[in-house]
Symmetry: C2
């Protein structure tokens, strides 16, 4: 027998349910206006898309044996070559080159000092020969000796004016449309999306929220030491020093994940050997896992490179992906569209 209050509840529920049945758009106006759509429209209906959708369902569907609690839904994404392009050189390196050119008038000594001399003369052969280590003074000169706030402004100014040499568009236009959809879809399924990149943490944070929907606290990257300083007028600031603190690449990626996130990802996407350990770390956890690799095999719409590339080399991680059945994603085959600006 129903208590009196239960009867009122049942009756009133009927009234509302009847109203909702007659005018169903009242129940969920947003959905009614936008009919249920493919969450990944820029992905072709190939095995990769099917695998992604099946995995997400498997770890999020109530009653699934592989259900992952919402708090543990961590998805990590490399940035360069995974979320945006990285050719002909990493965009952060282009930023540094542009900064050296802008700062050169204040540094006459750079005309005779490597690596600045080679850079200012456009001597790419010498620059390539200097290697990553030889180019560190450029990073130091362009990424240190200023406050974090000032550096942030410099990055934003550059993104607002610089244009990619091939596409003649802002660098942030070179984000991959299929990956934007994947990020949004993961979040819609309760995942927290993180960037875990070899790039500079303070180079990424000024724009990742607007571009990817990833807030600064979900960006993991390489960093230099910063130092607290208090000015005479009582205004504090954080000074960027030229000493490297952490390289978030290769074996550094699981270390960075542990330090910043403190939880192992269940889903990870990369594109190069620098992502191998992040993918291994993800794969080694208990329960269902998804490991994906973007393969740049589309010279027409983007670029084609892998085992022998200087930038974003995909060699050892390719072999491991094949061996372990990670989702090798072909740009050419799996992506209907690479960039949003494509016709």
């Amino acid at each position: 027998m129903m208590a009196s209050s239960d009867k009122v509840l049942a009756a009133s529920r009927r009234v509302v349910l009847t109203a909702l049945a007659v005018f169903p758009f009242l129940a969920a106006p947003a959905l009614a206006q936008t009919p249920a759509t493919d969450p990944l429209p820029s992905w072709n209906d190939t095995a990769t898309k099917t695998a992604i959708i099946a995995f997400v369902e498997r770890v999020t569907k109530q009653g699934s044996l592989d259900l992952v609690p919402a708090a543990e839904r961590i998805a990590t994404f490399d940035n360069d070559g995974t979320l945006w392009a990285e050719q002909p050189i990493y965009f952060q390196v282009q930023f540094a080159i542009d900064r050296v050119k802008a700062l050169a008038p204040q540094h006459p000594e750079w005309k005779t000092k490597q690596p600045f001399k080679a850079l200012l003369e456009g001597d790419t052969k010498t620059m390539a020969a200097l290697g990553e280590k030889g180019l560190l003074p450029i990073i130091a000169a362009t990424h240190a000796g200023m406050t974090v706030d000032d550096f942030t402004r410099t990055v934003r100014d550059w993104l607002g004016t610089a244009r990619h040499p091939r596409f003649n568009r802002p660098y942030t236009d070179l984000v991959y449309q299929p990956m934007l959809e994947l990020l949004a879809s993961m979040r819609a399924n309760g995942f927290k999306t993180f960037i875990v990149s070899g790039g500079g943490i303070e180079f990424m944070r000024p724009w990742t929220e607007k571009t990817y929907g990833i807030p600064p606290e979900q960006v993991v990257g390489s960093s230099g030491i910063t130092k607290w300083q208090m000015a005479a007028d009582g205004k504090p600031s954080l000074l960027k020093l030229s000493k490297i603190e952490f390289i978030d690449d290769g074996p550094g990626k699981p270390v960075g994940i542990n330090r910043f996130i403190g939880r192992r990802p269940v889903f990870a996407f990369g594109n190069s050997d620098g992502d191998q350990q992040m993918l291994e770390w993800t794969a080694a956890g208990a329960g269902a896992r998804f490991m994906g690799i973007v393969h740049h095999d589309d010279a027409e719409r983007e670029w084609a490179y892998d085992r022998k590339s200087h930038v974003g080399r995909l060699d050892k991680a390719w072999d491991e992906a094949v061996k372990r059945g990670w989702a090798l994603t072909s740009m050419k085959r799996d992506w209907k569209k690479v960039f949003a600006f494509e016709q």
Copy 2:
């Protein structure tokens, strides 16, 4: 004139609104079952509580000139002495002491080697004289030379068995009930709550989610270097080394906030001089800010200490708080209840 579809919409809205007017509990069943309650019931109705509530309303109410967008609602909390007790010694130090005792049979050399000798003999005078630096070998012996996963288990095991000497309760019972309510209330108002503690990041993460509702990725703390290693069987792990990586205390707190969060807090709570720079960094941002300090002035329910305390000294930060009008929170006056277990 209304279009036909608008008329349908208006009519159906009336039906639903009528139903909701008659049976208002249908509109918000959760609220109807729990009548609107004080979000901070363990706080007395003093100036501090009023200031907290006024601040939160000021930065979250639509139309407020000081509205802070949801993404920028960052609140940071020190841990030791702010969220849980820290007397008679930091609980992490007690953990280290207990671990040394547990490991001593495997280390006969500790019987004659400082600081282990003093610790094992209960020679607190010598230990105090050794100071923080002299005690580092204890941290190294108990916090390094194992994987992160193994360390996590050790922390959980200890919390499950160790008892606080004064209250004879698990250490996690010594969290402050008013601060638990404050954390929950901030989150209910769209804030992301972070711990920013001088304590070890990996000592806190195993329990902060359950105890405070703060997930590992929102815990900032001191850390040692960790190293990626791949075993012969293909199983990767992260090894904790005895080298210190980062001390998240004093001027390290704004550095840690910048590194881990990348966004300046609008609300911060601490209790000691180690929190001074975090509070200054918070205060120096643009727009409305809230800076709070817990003052331990309740020897009966908790402890009473400030300027001259060895643990959690509150001296310079006290003077600054008075000068700048930060919210000095008296345990005795402002907290109705300190611990949940109080009668």
